[in-house]
């Protein structure tokens, strides 16, 4: 009994000195990545969220991709060029799928046909329904002929929802076979995904990591704590309130980019927002710096024009402040619209995500100053999406990113002729924005294309199909020993998983 008691006392006293090795990460060549959610599915062509995109990029690759600097580059395509008015020819590099089979033009044809099939649920289906035919003159050559001349085809092929899989491997009940830098070795649903380097990856010397482990941390505080304690080496979706602390920690590094943004969408079928003057009044009534400061802790930037990143060659600086805060103009516009006395309306957002709710509250306060009394509707996210898709709202808070840094990447957000969607305004506009986007897509001359997109930015400012509010910083944070990972610029931030092929850890 005495011995037991002594042992107990000794053990208790020694406890603070027994630092249990809690680290699961930090092993050279073996990186642990803290994901924000578990991919809902592994369908390579469906947009299943950004976490799913990061995992997809390790297993699958497409004809094209983006480099760490955001420049378009060939991935499975060694070279590509225009062929006739509406055709593009891609020459494949020598690459193999995870099952050892060579990547051939037949696999590319199969993948495009799966995406554009009538019953496909692929994210890029609408774009690839513009394909007239895919020809395979030899195993290394693919000729894609579009129904219309399409300058943006290589950009579309760089989307991470456009991977090439082994022909037949995505048929019902099968697991699509990819050719990415890693292969999945183990999955624990909802918890983790383990990957090992693909020894036959087509880029010599890559990937540099031996293993990659994705561990899901849905709660942002838990995700940051996991990085700070060394349980993981790299995290995505760094919460804005934690960024200063991470920057101050010499053991950690933060990489931010401004690509995702907050904006307002409108119901153009009914109510006061049918009138573009009222939408424009809203655009001039918002103190965007308050959103940046309050919602994003200063980690963002005012966005008072079309949401085209500065890195885009088509970004027109003279038009980037077209919706600057100007309450006098906002009131005058309301008066011109016959609503000088103000009106009452409801703003749809969601209480499920604080950035949506907090943005809605600031919009509510700002609009009250010009006589618009806003009531907030804050259902859960599922309900909010459903109401948005059905146009059962007056105006709504949204947050997303464009498909690419090219103006064409904004199509799904500003072209209301594409049909009802929670991501864009409902039943709005006269089709002129759609026409401008189509013209830009079909124009191959860079100068003429730039002119088209300048006009498009002017059109957006005048018609106000959305009201841009603020860029928000999208952050990845990592241990200082992590090298080679790059948060890709602007709208391409969610493609950053591509750079895991070049990432190293210690050693």
């Amino acid at each position: 009994m005495t011995i037991r008691r002594r042992a107990l006392v000794a053990g208790t006293v020694a406890l603070p000195f027994l630092r249990i090795p809690a680290r699961a990460a930090g092993t050279p060549g073996q990186l642990v990545f803290g994901l924000s959610s578990y991919p809902p599915n592994f369908n390579p062509w469906v947009q299943a969220g950004t976490a799913a995109g990061t995992v997809t990029l390790q297993v699958h690759r497409g004809l094209m991709s983006y480099g760490p600097d955001g420049q378009l580059r060939g991935e499975l395509a060694e070279k590509w060029e225009r062929d006739g008015d509406a055709g593009w020819v891609f020459t494949l590099r020598d690459a193999s799928f995870h099952n050892g089979a060579k990547v051939t033009s037949a696999d590319v044809k199969y993948s495009i046909e799966q995406v554009s099939a009538p019953k496909s649920t692929a994210y890029m289906r609408a774009q690839f329904q513009g394909v007239d035919r895919v020809e395979t003159p030899d195993p290394r050559t693919v000729r894609i002929v579009m129904k219309q001349p399409t300058e943006t085809l290589p950009l579309w092929l760089a989307a991470f929802e456009m991977p090439v899989v082994a022909a037949g491997s995505a048929d019902t009940g099968k697991t699509p076979i990819g050719c990415g830098p890693f292969t999945i070795t183990k999955q624990e649903r909802g918890v983790s995904i383990d990957l090992a380097a693909n020894p036959n990856f087509y880029k010599p010397g890559l990937p540099k990591l031996k293993t990659l482990r994705f561990v899901v941390y849905a709660d942002e505080t838990a995700r940051v704590a996991a990085l700070q304690t060394g349980d993981v080496d790299l995290i995505e979706y760094v919460p804005w309130q934690s960024m200063a602390g991470i920057e101050a920690d010499p053991k950690l590094r933060l990489q931010n980019t401004e690509g995702p943004f907050m904006y307002l969408t409108f119901n153009g079928a009914t109510g006061p927002f049918k009138d573009p003057k009222v939408r424009l009044a809203v655009a001039h009534a918002i103190k965007r710096d308050e959103i940046v400061k309050s919602v994003f802790y200063g980690r963002g930037a005012v966005l008072a024009g079309a949401p085209l990143v500065e890195a885009s060659p088509f970004h027109d600086k003279t038009l980037s402040d077209g919706w600057a805060y100007d309450p006098a103009r906002a009131k005058a516009l309301l008066a011109e619209a016959g609503l000088g006395g103000g009106f009452n309306c409801t703003l749809l957002a969601t209480a499920q995500y604080s950035m949506h709710k907090d943005t809605a509250e600031i919009v509510q306060q700002n609009l009250a100053a010009i006589g618009i009394q806003v009531e907030l509707a804050l259902p859960d996210w599922a309900t909010r999406v459903s109401l948005g898709n059905r146009g059962q709202y007056q105006f709504a808070v949204n947050g997303t990113t464009a498909d690419s840094n090219d103006p064409d990447g904004l199509s799904a957000l500003i072209d209301s002729t594409l049909g009802p969607s929670a991501a864009r305004s409902f039943d709005l506009g006269d089709g002129s924005i759609a026409k401008a986007l189509a013209a830009g897509r079909a124009e191959f001359d860079p100068t003429k294309r730039a002119a088209i997109y300048t006009d498009l930015q002017k059109l957006v400012l005048a018609q106000t199909p959305i009201v841009s509010l603020a860029w928000r910083a999208q952050g990845y944070a990592m241990a200082a020993a992590v090298k080679g990972f790059t948060n890709m610029p602007g709208a391409l931030t969610f493609f950053s998983g591509t750079t895991l092929e070049e990432t190293t850890l210690g050693g």
Binding site: A22, K119, T121, R189, G190, V191, A226, D380
Partner: protein, 316 residues
Amino acid sequence: MIWAAKRIGTSLLLVWLVITLVFLAIHFVPGDPAELLLSQGGAAPDPDQVAQLHEQLGLDRPLLEQYAGNLRGLVHGDLGQSMQDQAPVVDSIADRLPRTLELIAAAAVVALGVGIPLGTAAATRPGGWLDRIGTAVAALLLSLPVFVLGTLLVLVFAQTLHWLPAGGYISLTTNPVRHFQLLAMPALTIAAGLAAVVYRITRGAVADVRQRDYVRTARAKGVAPARIMRRHVLRNALIPVATVIGLQLGGLLGGTVLVEYVFNYPGLSGLLIDAVSARDYPMVEGIVLVISVLFVGLNLLLDLLYGVLDPRVRQA
């Protein structure tokens, strides 16, 4: 026998009622699983594609047909497939349920191990220092939200002292040491509130039983105090404690979500919340079915046991 059959019949009816109510509630609440699946990452789904997915997921069938199909599946032990990844619902539940049960069991062991001795000791000297401190600490633990306590534990034990990992899960077979390291903080967080409840109930029950005539008689007969406590006081005092603990633990089956989030512990509650958010109908229905069967089953077992122990219950 008839009494037992009646109790079992009532329990089955209760389970059916829960399944039906949940089916109706989840289908009538706004939100569409197909739209949500295709709207991930702020994507703008094509209405035509939403319709395609409705067809693939069987959501285009009349509600009554879907309900009948669900019931047919349940009778045959088939809980259907997740609408998100087409994985069998039963597999997901089989993954998550043991983790939640382990978490609850670990929390219960700690709560009972702390709450019963301290509650008993406090009741033997009402108004003493242990009673006063214990009552104050119990009040504090009961009023402390689990996410606050959980976050404090992470701050102290993971981020400052580095004794334990901040959160996550690893199976017992993969790494037993790390498994228990990861279990420690979430179990302690749940145990804290539970121990406070056990402490208070035990204290009250023991204090009450100690005043009973049969205890006084035992003392008068010169029975040793330890024996009185063991044989006469605790045996009777622990009956209400067991009842309350049974209800508390049953409630935890679907109620550990905040702890699961704070510690990134992949249990059944988190799966249920995620399924509700995604409007993954088969997953929600499957989890609620399992929780209700366990809850109702536990209560049925207790009812049958009471009936065995006390014949008056059977006659009532």
